[in-house]
């Protein structure tokens, strides 16, 4: 079996930037990813990526993709990595479609939406319940919707929805919203947003599609009629594929300052790691750093 210099897992900001650096270092490498753009592709408006004062998530993801494919990069799309394992000097990457071998790996598999874990969540997924306001928001024109959460991503979703939906309820399980002040102010200024603090969603109700949610506050439990539920309660790292790699209490992959994990040759970058902040620009920077570290690692070791 062919042994690559490098396999990059994931094609979000970290993976794509790593691929650009790997291509420019003329490494023999492969990118394997379920999707392109990662979480950036699902973001609404991006106003903090240097060089773009304003760009939407899908547009930035498109730019990333064009940059990656400019180098004739070998890309396996719609393919899911199930396991990364080092056996002797070779790292085995097992996907839902094939097995690959490499001298080094960069895990840049990012994070995914955390689920609510309430009754009705599975049944009503894509039947009114969604984890992506950017994608599915436009389907709720003129309807009443609930956004679950109180952080930046919840308020981002709510602010996308105020332009589309009739009424937006923000269901927040804390005393106040934790999002940035600038976003909180925009939400306060919006005429069709109702913030419900100290409120916990307990069930999703409907027949074929969502019709209502159950929410519990200190005083009472009540039903709220909505046709859409947007879940924005945070993220969990896609790190289960790396069983032998050290992780922190949040299941993020532990890396050192050069993106090396506890296993020589296995590197990681971006939101799947314990890097202190999760931002598109940080993930991109981490991806570049990881690719350069891989280049040094391969130069130091004389693999045949």
């Amino acid at each position: 079996m062919h042994i690559y210099d490098l396999i990059i897992i994931g094609a979000g900001p970290a993976g794509i930037t790593a691929s650009v650096y790997a291509a420019r270092k003329k490494l023999d490498f492969l990118v394997i990813s379920l999707d392109i753009g990662g979480q950036a592709a699902w973001s609404g408006d991006i106003e903090n990526y240097t060089g773009y004062q304003f760009i939407t998530g899908p547009e930035l993801a498109q730019k990333f993709q064009e940059h990656m494919l400019k180098y004739d990069t070998a890309l396996k799309e719609n393919e899911e990595v199930l396991e990364v394992k080092k056996i002797g000097e070779v790292i085995l990457v097992k996907t839902n479609k094939a097995d690959y071998q490499s001298r080094s790996v960069i895990i840049a598999s990012g994070k995914k939406s955390k689920e609510l874990g309430v009754a009705g969540e599975k049944e009503f997924k894509n039947r009114g319940l969604t984890y992506c306001a950017t994608c599915d928001g436009p389907l709720f024109a003129g309807r009443d919707v609930a956004v679950i959460g109180g952080g930046n991503s919840a308020l981002d979703a709510a602010l996308q929805l105020v332009k589309i939906a009739k009424q937006v309820y923000l269901i927040n399980n804390a005393v106040s919203l934790s999002a940035d002040a600038i976003m909180r102010r925009k939400v306060e200024e919006a005429v069709n947003v109702t913030v419900l603090n100290n409120s916990l969603i307990t069930a999703i109700l409907g027949d074929k599609f969502v019709q209502a949610i159950k929410i519990k506050s200190a005083s009472q439990e009540k039903e709220l009629a909505v046709q859409g539920v947007f879940v924005e309660i945070g993220l969990v790292p896609n790190s289960a594929l790396a069983k032998d790699v050290e992780k922190n209490s949040k299941n993020e992959i532990s890396i050192d300052s050069s993106n090396q994990t506890n296993i020589a040759g296995i590197f990681a970058a971006g939101d799947v790691t314990d890097v202190s902040e999760k931002q598109i620009i940080i993930a991109a920077g981490e991806g570049s750093k990881a690719a350069l570290s891989v280049f040094h690692y391969l130069s130091k070791n004389n693999f045949n």
Partner: protein
């Protein structure tokens, strides 16, 4: 004869963009239905699939939910 291909999509969903891009690259003609602007198309999509996720592809009556490249290729005979 060319197959009749309909894509139910929204302009903001990244998978819709990718699905349409894939069809263009494969030189497949298709009818794009923006379900965020066209309520009739949205109702039609929900009736066909019983769900609201986009994209949905209708290839000569074969319904594919999501951008599943392999299934799309198979349905188109690519």
């Amino acid at each position: 004869m060319a197959k009749s291909v309909k894509v139910y999509s929204t302009s903001t969903c990244p998978w819709c963009v990718r699905a349409k891009q894939f069809l263009k690259e494969s030189h497949i003609e298709f009818q794009n239905l923006d379900v965020s602007a066209d309520q009739l198309a949205a109702d039609e999509m929900m009736a066909k699939t019983g769900q609201m996720g986009v994209p949905v592809l209708d290839i000569d009556g074969e319904i594919i939910i999501g951008f599943d490249k392999e299934k799309i290729k198979l349905a188109l005979g690519l």
